[in-house]
Symmetry: C2
Subunit: 315 residues, 2 copies
Amino acid sequence: MNRPHRPDPGASSASTYPVGFDLKSYLKAKSEKVNNALRAQLDAVAVPGRLLEAMRHSLLAGGKRLRPVLCLAAAESAGKADEVAMPAACALEMIHTYSLIHDDLPAMDDDDLRRGIPTCHRAFDEATAILAGDGLLTGAFEILAGSALHEPEKRNEWVQVIHLVSRAAGAAGMIEGQMQDMQAEGTPLSVDALATLHQLKTGAVIEAAVHCGALLGGAGNRQLNDLRRYARRIGLAFQVVDDILNVEGDPVRMGKSVGTDREKRKSTYPEVLGVSASRNFAQQLVGEALKAIQDFDNRSDPLRAIAVYIVRRNR
Amino acid sequence: MNRPHRPDPGASSASTYPVGFDLKSYLKAKSEKVNNALRAQLDAVAVPGRLLEAMRHSLLAGGKRLRPVLCLAAAESAGKADEVAMPAACALEMIHTYSLIHDDLPAMDDDDLRRGIPTCHRAFDEATAILAGDGLLTGAFEILAGSALHEPEKRNEWVQVIHLVSRAAGAAGMIEGQMQDMQAEGTPLSVDALATLHQLKTGAVIEAAVHCGALLGGAGNRQLNDLRRYARRIGLAFQVVDDILNVEGDPVRMGKSVGTDREKRKSTYPEVLGVSASRNFAQQLVGEALKAIQDFDNRSDPLRAIAVYIVRRNR
């Protein structure tokens, strides 16, 4: 794993893929670390009882842990151990999980299954699910603020992290994206409108995950910009593949319902572009993501492997 | 208004009340300032559209503005102009409003009227109300983080503010209080259990409001502790009076439904202690609050007048 990365300005995605890199082991190891940290953080921000049980039900149900892993991988890419970014990684996963809990509510997407188990309001009740989501969102900021408080030498970076996470997850980011998604049901969208919607709904937080990790890892401005470009491309690629899997995926492997986009008459990439062109588009985005970080050394191999995984995944 | 405050260890609430102080004008002036600041902050954290409209509907519907006014008054008490604490005051009111929006939802208290106008889910719809609450909560942290980012000379104080607000509003504070409140429906509580419940549900954020204002106003440790003791007493007094008004209040003047506690078989102070003893208890708490800040000079007169107002109010 000490293979030096050879920059190649005209590199195709194939030539920049880190061939010897074992992503499966990497994801397994990082997910376990993240899950352990999440368990500890959860106990620090909540008190024993039904609320904590509901938060735990949804937060510790597994999931791909894409956002925290990206955050840790970005810190490593900038040259630091993943520990520096772990509180941010946890906060991002808590925010992602809260958004799933609220989106799954009967008043929103009314889903019964998430991450292979009953959604929070099915396992508990609606009121508890609303509060569990609120608790995860607020707890995320408590964790970030706690890091800012207890790491004075990194306080400036943590303040930037709190600001960019709140911005990305807020009413000019993820929440606005969810609102526009609901409003667009039944209205055909153009490819550009669809990209804008997804940049808000999922792209902003994925970009924030990489941005936070890079900041905490000590990346310079040039590196930050490259990593953010990488993140924007894989964020959109992720969503394009999500749309494809919603048409073609296996609900058992996915751990959630499929075919729901069509039922709700949501505009999707397969619908607007067709399945085959959607696949090509996702592939192109991943190529651009790999190109954005082509000058980085082999400490960015996890980010490269994740980019490629995003289009190859089946859940 | 330059009357020196004479410390009197045995002071009764009557003798420490700032007789010449015009609370009505003070509250009017502060509320207007808060409302103007809230309008500007809201436009900074959200983009035009239905989500922003829903956030605005609930946030700018009036209300007593108790938390922001306490925050500003605490900053003044510590010797600073209220401007230093305005972003914290706004964040606290946004958090209070988000909690009302979510508590009013059909799955929770199912209320139709709030601050004299339809609740958010009545004026818009449930999904929009859930998202509007989420947006206000996330926006509150964006505002606090923005202050931390843009005021480097006060960054340490802002980081403390973010931490204590998230803690007070989170799953070991306000949200846990709401959870326990729902779980306790139909179960008679002792006076102590009732006090614990209210300390979580409303007390923690009221204490945070005073604490934040005092911190940003530059209060020392001794002064901070006194102000927090003041805040805990008036926080509980406020809730005792709320319970009394839920039995005896006028729904038109209150701007919300009354008699709802009995309908939901919630334990309340009038039920546990009787109305008359509840009034005495609130009066005693206010006396203790005034005593906690008896050594402070006349810059604390607004806090004194607010304490007395809390038991005399009729909405």
